[in-house]
């Protein structure tokens, strides 16, 4: 036991005396949260559009003022001829064009039918889709206002309710994703170099010629990082609650418990990498290679359900995928342990597997 504590103390010294490690440990999560929270969102604000209005009547004026009032659009300019539209798209960052034909109001009132053309820049299909939806919604809105005046016999009004995230904030989706990503990456990278560092510096050679227990060494390497990662998690949570108005609807204790589980999973993975590599560089390289699959398969950037079946199976092997589900359930839906026991069990199984393999891979001799 004394031996073990001495190992743990030594590991703490290593961490606290390496300013680069500390910077990475605490700098990365803060940068990530701020980046994903503010800069990188899939909400669409202030898209530049052009309007070509041949009618210039009451109806079109009202619709245009509605569009102007919307936070999503910013009218760049009004065109005189539709021939200028393509030019406008090519010229600049115009995302959408709306064209009202002549006699728009007349057609609407007398023929009960009027047409409006919406042209979107579909080089980014998601944005184009979202923008055309927004524009259509605004026009439909106007139509409903009209219908209030002349009563119509049949009338279906869809009553929409956005559950768990009524304001459709991107942060609600991103924060659990960033938590999963940051904890995964930081823990894997930190521990990936820890054992191999001792191999490189030669201290492992001295350690091997001593009655130490490999299991204790490996566990003691993970403990400082577990401790620091929990602090890290607290920082992320405080930041996202205060800056990004994230809800924490479920039990904070459960959230920390589950996070500790993911941290241990990631640490075990890092230790495994460290045990099978021979240089810090290759350990770092392998853990860097893990960034992309972690980002892709966690599910917060691209929905997993839309991926081809083989990729969905691969995603199951990514621990952060399960953690992402857990965090969303606890933080946003406010669910208890009974809803996430399956994911917890999977993470637990992964941890045991990784730990056992990394201890078995530990070499008791050189080479």
């Amino acid at each position: 036991m004394k031996q073990f504590l001495s190992f743990v103390r030594k590991e703490f010294y290593h961490v606290f005396r390496d300013s680069k490690t500390l910077l990475m440990l605490f700098g990365l999560p803060i940068v990530q949260i701020v980046l994903f929270g503010f800069a990188l969102t899939n909400e669409i604000k202030n898209s530049k559009i052009v309007i070509c209005d041949y009618a210039k009547d009451e109806a079109t004026q009202q619709i245009i003022s509605k569009i102007e009032a919307s936070r999503s659009f910013e009218i760049q300019k009004t065109l005189i001829s539709h021939k200028q539209i393509e030019e406008a798209f090519k010229e600049g960052d115009i995302k959408l064009a709306i064209i009202f034909p002549a006699n728009f109001n007349n057609d609407l009132l007398h023929l009960h039918k009027a047409q409006v053309q919406i042209i979107a820049d579909a080089s980014d299909p998601n944005t184009a889709n979202t923008l055309t939806n927004y524009a259509t919604n605004i026009i439909m809105d106007y139509q409903q206002e009209l219908m209030k005046n002349n009563a119509m016999s049949f009338h279906i009004v869809p009553e929409l309710r956005m559950l768990y995230n009524p304001e459709l904030k991107g942060a609600t989706n991103f924060v659990p994703g960033v938590m999963a990503l940051v904890l995964m990456l930081v823990c894997v990278m930190m521990t990936a170099v820890s054992v191999v560092k001792e191999k490189e510096s030669g201290t492992m050679e001295v350690l091997l010629v001593s009655p130490f227990n490999p299991f204790l060494v490996i566990i003691s390497k993970a403990i400082p990082y577990l401790f620091l990662s929990l602090i890290n998690l607290t920082v992320i949570l405080v930041l996202s609650v205060t800056l990004l108005d994230m809800p924490v609807n479920g039990s904070v204790l459960l959230l920390f418990g589950e996070s500790a589980l993911l941290i241990i999973t990631a640490l075990s993975l890092g230790l495994l990498i460290s045990n099978v590599t021979q240089s810090q560089q290759s350990a770092m390289f392998i853990s860097m290679m893990g960034i992309l699959p972690t980002m892709l398969f966690t599910g917060f950037m691209f929905p997993l359900e839309n991926m081809p079946y083989p990729l969905q199976i691969i995603a199951n092997a990514v621990p952060s995928k399960w953690y992402y589900i857990i965090v969303k359930s606890i933080m946003i839906k406010g669910l208890g342990f009974s809803a996430i026991w399956k994911e917890t069990l999977i993470l637990f199984g992964m941890t045991c597997f990784l730990l056992i393999v990394s201890i078995r891979k530990f070499k008791t001799r050189l080479v």
Partner: protein, 304 residues
Amino acid sequence: MTDVVLNNIVKTYNKGEVKAVNDVSFEVNKGELFGLIGADGAGKTSIFRILTTLLLPDSGTACVNGFDVVKDYKAIRKNVGYMPGKFSLYQDLSVEENLNFFATVFNTTIAENYDLVRDIYVQLEPFKNRRAGKLSGGMKQKLALCCALIHRPTVLFLDEPTTGVDVVSRKEFWEMLKGLKQQSITILVSTPYMDEATLCERIALIQNGSIMSIETPDNIIKQFPDTLFAVRANDMGRLLNDLRNNNQIKSCFSFGDFHHITFQNNNEHSRNELIQSLQESNFQDIEMKHITPSIEDCFINLMN
């Protein structure tokens, strides 16, 4: 009583391409200060690593304290002290923290074996809060020795402990080893410096993985087959060439201020003849004297 036994140890690298240790056998007695002398790449480190259970030999057997290096490696690791050739302590830990850590790893405390390391540690004490990475080369070696000794090992393996250390520190280091001998610790030390060989009780001269001779330093010198002379003149470079081209000379090597030579037929006549021929070749200040060979002379002689 023997503490270390090697029987026909062979170790190859790169799937047998490089033969690092070639059929090496020797024994080290209890309480002996045994030196492994050889140039870089002679196989010294491989032998040390096999004995400290870090490498598996390809063939042959070896025992330390009566334990087999392959089967009973755990028992050996408890009882030996090992100081690798490269400084291998935690550079970001202070002197005291390093020593404390290694004491705990071996389930002991500094206080328990302080008498063993006291003489060395008092020199380190003024720097005990300094990080190990910031110590001078000599101080690093002293700390490494302390850490290797802190659990009172029965056998101490020191792989090139004085390489890259200044002359004064080297001398101090060997004084320390003599002190440790009083504590009846068996010491196996390797060095590329021939002058350190005479400080050992017995030495093994090793070259290209094979042992050339195992003897006390005195006996190795006694076994030198020829009479050795040292020659000096004003133009040493030309002198070396001339001597090597002289068919009366059996061997000739440059040794600092002198060239060491042996004759094919050592007698008064051939010596006079040499001096005469050197004078004829316009050498000035010719000096020739009879000397006792050093270990290095013996080593070079054995190599050829």
